[in-house]
Symmetry: C2
Subunit: 457 residues, 2 copies
């Protein structure tokens, strides 16, 4: 995937060298000679990935990285630290700062291109999600990016697929301080375990006895259930070509044996954060879509939801000749509650009313606030006698216990009138059924309220 | 990127051969020996890409392809047709059926892997969008997938970057029958044109005089403005390695010279459809998020939107010591309109009321339906005298012309009372300002309605 690569290095020859290499591979290259310039370019959204020199005067690479990773605007950008010496301590500092990977000078071309491409591809997949989540923020759903950036990456569920017992136990002990670790030596069983449980990251040894660990990685990347779970390969230094291959088809990271404990902990944490980052964004988009069909006061569905779902549901019932029932509920003398105790008390009554209704309805029922104090319930697969029973149970439940209002300092008796109707073979649309339920409700009101009335037989 | 590849071929040795090749490259392979089985696997969502043999007894490859591409559930799956003979007529039939590409037997491995990887990567980028859009359908926003699948791919804006005049004009003539074509011979100018206008597809010659067309492709793939515009390379047969490279970094398709007119038209159309498919899905997600903050009846923002934006807006005004004004509007004797003319007439009045308010507010103002017949307007950068003027203008506009109701068969006189307040240096939150506006509204009502009252000085 082509991308805009930002090279950050205070030495011009270093910039030039990387620029030439990347440009020949059809990457678009930008350069910054110091940390503040780099940060400014990233904040303007001008690049897709950052190659960041560690040693720079003033703000060093670690500080730049930390800055980028703590800012919701730039936290999603992959950062690859470029170090002169491959010191474990440097790696750790970088990982702590949130770096996604490392390259050691002199830079190996294959490693460079594989890494950049792999990180850019992973970014491309979440870019769409990120831009939807940013829109959800504009619509006033809080700031999912800030929330996502604040994720710690701890307390995760980790699956480790490794058949070298000593090594597995040593790694599990280190990871176990921050996460819950499941060990699995058999790759076939591991695939089942991975699809059956929700893991936050999976480590896979490439040197399993008699099995190519990379095959397991590719299966995990292919299956719907596991495709978004971060994968980390455990590899021997001589395994370079398989590592590159894995990164190329979407494995997220790798650890070289002998595995350094601290690096293990840091890399797993980075991957868990990355996964949760996406989850928070996805959740924000989902939540803001759900809001569109939810009544803000009661948490019930709103009229928009009822209108858009009832037609389909009713059409299905007609096609399959199945029963369906409608209840229209209206709180009795609601205006006088508002007038006597105030609007806030009225709101409290509506919330409690909704809670009591929920206790008597199923997941497949539609329960929607229809107007001010009116609720419509649609019951699929329910005939008239059962619908009347359900309505009667709700009516009793409302009457039985007074509603507490004004922060539980007072209580008020509430009753409800309910009209019941069921689908008739002659009905053309759901509106016909609702009309009968509305007429029944009218009769319930006329007959003195606090009653259930069903459509005329 | 790893993926589940479905091989469809009625001959077992053909299946076996492809399976072995793909498996060695760490793809997950499924097979179907006939069309109906293939369709069933696709509908169950078990694969990411389809390699489809043309010649099969019963349902042939074209028919299977057409079926997959016309079904909203499977239309997003890339389909590569595998043909024994590279007949232009076969290609055309395949493209007409919606195929994404072709491979000719005997299959060249590099071409196979490049094609499959490139198509799978493009799919991965839109998968997230697709699943959000499917959720929006579940929330009752119509069926964006069906809408997206019905897109024709015609009447598009096409940019053609080609400096061979005769060839350019010939291609433009063919495409011009279905689209609007812009010709550009200079690659530097083409980049500017592409970022300045919204094109639906861009064709780029790889043989521009003194310029590597692939470089232009990579720049177009990198820039935010053009990244999602489909790219098609125009290439000579000896250019195979650059074609593969282009596909690898995200170019969508290519045409081999001499360009067959019909194939040109078909491939451009496929790419335009693909782009619009994503746009429809993106629009559906966006729309369902917008609904969450929109009042269904009037189209104004709802209280949820006001509550979540007012705090930020007011905080900014405090920080920058800028004025901000609040208007609370309440239709006079609204209940009697409902009682006299019915609820539907009341709704018509609210809609007309909202329209008239819109005429007197700016894009930066917040206009939200607050309760039944109450609207709140927040005016940034507006002081008390100006706010009173705006309120007075709205009041006049409402009174001046009767509101037509009952489908324009009757009209009813409507008036509105308005309370006005502005930010005070002592205000801690927007609530303080709203409270003063509410008091002013109360005084307007008490003083006889159809009035504007401002907060006490």
């Amino acid at each position: 995937m082509s991308a805009r690569v930002l090279i950050v290095d205070d030495l011009f020859p270093n910039v030039k060298l990387l620029e030439t290499k990347l440009s020949l591979e059809y990457f678009d290259v930008l350069a910054a000679m110091n940390g503040p310039d780099a940060i400014a370019i990233c904040e303007k959204g001008l690049c897709d990935i950052v190659l960041l020199d560690v040693m720079m005067p003033g703000m060093d690479g670690f500080e730049v990285c930390r800055h980028l990773k703590n800012n919701p605007v730039t936290a999603h950008l992959p950062v690859v630290m470029v170090t002169a010496l491959d010191q474990p301590s440097d790696r750790l500092r970088g990982l702590d700062a949130g770096a996604d990977d490392f390259l050691t000078k002199p830079i190996d071309d294959t490693a460079l291109f594989t890494r950049v491409r792999s990180l850019v591809r992973l970014k491309a997949v979440t870019d769409e999600l990120r831009s939807r989540a940013m829109a959800s923020r504009d619509f006033g759903m809080g700031d999912p990016l800030a929330l996502a950036t604040a994720e710690t990456g701890l307390n995760a569920q980790i699956l480790m697929v490794e058949d070298r017992r000593a090594s597995a136990e040593r790694m599990a002990a280190s990871l176990g301080q921050h996460h819950v670790v499941t060990l699995e030596a058999d790759p076939h069983q591991a695939l089942l375990t991975a699809t059956d449980h929700a893991f936050d990251a999976i480590l896979v040894s490439l040197d399993l006895a008699g099995f190519d660990g990379l095959r397991l990685c590719s299966q995990l990347r292919s299956l719907d259930r596991t495709r978004s779970v971060p994968l980390i390969m455990l590899a021997e230094p001589h395994d370079r070509s398989r590592i590159m291959r894995g990164l190329d088809f979407g494995v997220h990271d790798y650890l070289m044996r002998p595995v350094d404990r601290n690096e293990l902990v840091a890399r797993v944490r980075t991957q868990v954060r990355r996964k949760r980052f996406s989850e928070v964004l996805r959740g924000a988009v989902q939540a803001s879509m759900e809001l569109a069909v939810t009544d803000g006061l009661t948490g019930l569905h709103n009229r928009r939801y009822l209108d858009s779902h009832l037609g389909t549901l009713f059409g299905d019932a007609i096609a399959r000749q199945r029963p369906v029932a409608a209840l229209i509920l209206d709180i009795d003398r609601f205006k006088s509650i508002n007038d006597t105790y105030g609007h806030e008390a009225g709101d409290e009554v509506l919330r409690t009313f909704a809670e009591r209704i929920r206790l008597h309805t199923r997941g497949i029922d539609i329960v929607a606030r229809y107007g001010g104090e009116e609720v419509v319930i649609i019951l699929p697969e329910v005939g008239l006698p059962e619908a009347q029973l359900i309505a009667e149970r709700i009516r009793e439940r409302v009457e039985m216990m007074p509603f507490s209002v004004q922060r539980a300092t007072r209580s008020v008796g509430v009753t409800v009138s309910i009209g019941v109707a069921v689908r008739d073979p002659a009905d053309v649309s759901a509106g016909d059924m609702l009309k009968r339920a509305d007429l029944a409700l009218y009769r319930a009101k006329a007959a003195g309220r606090n009653r259930v009335e069903a459509q005329a037989a």
